[in-house]
Amino acid sequence: MSRNPDHEMLGQASHDERARLGIIGAMKLHVGRRLRAGNRTFYALEAAPRFEATHGHAPEGPAEIGTAMRPNPHWQLWSAMNRATQEQMWDAVQDTLLREEPRMKQAFHKLTDRPDKRGSLELDPDCRVPVEVRQSEIHLQPGGYVLDRGDDDFLAGAFYELGGAAYSQAQGIGTKQSKGEIIIGMLEAQYPGFRPTRILDMACSAGSSSTPYAQAFPDAEVHAIDVTPGLLRYAHARAEALGLPVHFYQQHVAETKFPDASFDLVVSHNAMHEISDADAAGMMRESYRLLKPGGVCVHQDVPLRFDQLDDYMQFDYGWDHYYNCEPFWLVYANNDPQAMLLDAGFADDDVYVGFVEQSDKSMRWYVATARKAG
């Protein structure tokens, strides 16, 4: 199954909306790659010498590089353009979703009011929603993950899936293979014969990575958690639209309500960069507690590792933290999932941290994996 298989809950763009997303994607790529690469030349030519003239030394570290670069007019114009493309992408997605909403709402009720539906949804108004999630429009997504306009509002999840698809398309990241399928392939190679019967997807957002497990392991029970109703309602309806049984709950990754040793496989997809270090460590501790002996956890995310980048590139990639509303981007880029897994109780020999490539080679992902002894 591709990352964004067609289903009843997917917003369908009109001719012009598709064209608009196409051109915005092309501008996003041009600004985000070609023009972005030019910034480093302007840094060397203008920003660094100007900084040195006033401070008596060349910029040291990403913070001083930022101080040097922010007054540079090329960087200012580039930044305004780079943010504009992200805003344009969400605007275009929003046009489609608000036009499609009446049709999607009908589909939502048809799919989720059915007595014979395959999965379920349990919301908990007491679930802790981190302040950064409550107060920010993460990666500028309109209304953020907390957008909630009533008991049958699913717009936050719809934004997440359609915006994510537009972003991947613009970046040329292959969409033939979902993130779940990449990890399923990795598990087959790493642990041949591993057949989980109970699976948990942590911080599942729109559920696009939860359903591949239900499809690949039809005998397994698949559970998935996240913290906001708008994401979970969409994820639930989406799974029903695909005819795949997944049970969704409003729970925090660091404080789940499941009993000890109740899962064979615990996964997360693009979750680490959207939670604090304390919650990431908590997620690893929960992974250990929830796994049965012999069970496996895999935490997959973007390949952003500051220990592999020079100071300028750390400044450059840090842009998303300050201007694309990614509150934990820098925390994640500097974190140490291996240490977190060891602290959680996994044995040294059972922990693997590295990269996994999509089968079309268009993207590689960072993974932190561990198997519980037993």
């Binding site: 041009h30 023009l35 493309t85 929003q94 046009d95």
Partner: protein, 109 residues
């Protein structure tokens, strides 16, 4: 701004500014980029019209909505967009090229 905001959101002007002394510049960037996008939307619609006319001789709005570009058309359109974006923002690329030449000359001195 999207054509149809129907829920409360923080204003874009609350996002950190890149040129604090020239707030108008950033708004103009948004306007220019939206104009660039809209011209491409019209051009793609025209492309659909031309293709359908060549195929069928006449068409309706519904035909345009139903038009499903195949892989070849998708690839042609992607290529057109790339050329178009480079043309619109050609000045910026020329500045980078000039800066790179200058940096190269400095390095070789």
């Amino acid at each position: 701004m999207a054509a149809s905001d129907n829920f409360e959101r923080p204003s874009r002007e609350t996002r950190p500014a890149f040129s604090p002394d020239e707030p108008i510049a950033e708004r103009l960037v948004r306007v220019v980029m939206n104009l660039a996008a809209e011209l491409a939307v019209v051009r793609e619609r025209l492309d659909t019209v031309e293709r359908l006319l060549a195929e069928k001789g006449s068409l309706t709005s519904a035909d345009i909505e139903a038009f499903a570009p195949g892989d070849n058309v998708d690839a042609e359109r992607r290529e057109w967009r790339e050329t178009y974006v480079r043309r619109i923002f050609a000045d910026l690329e020329a500045e980078i090229d000039a800066a790179q030449r200058q940096a190269g000359q400095r390095a070789s001195k």
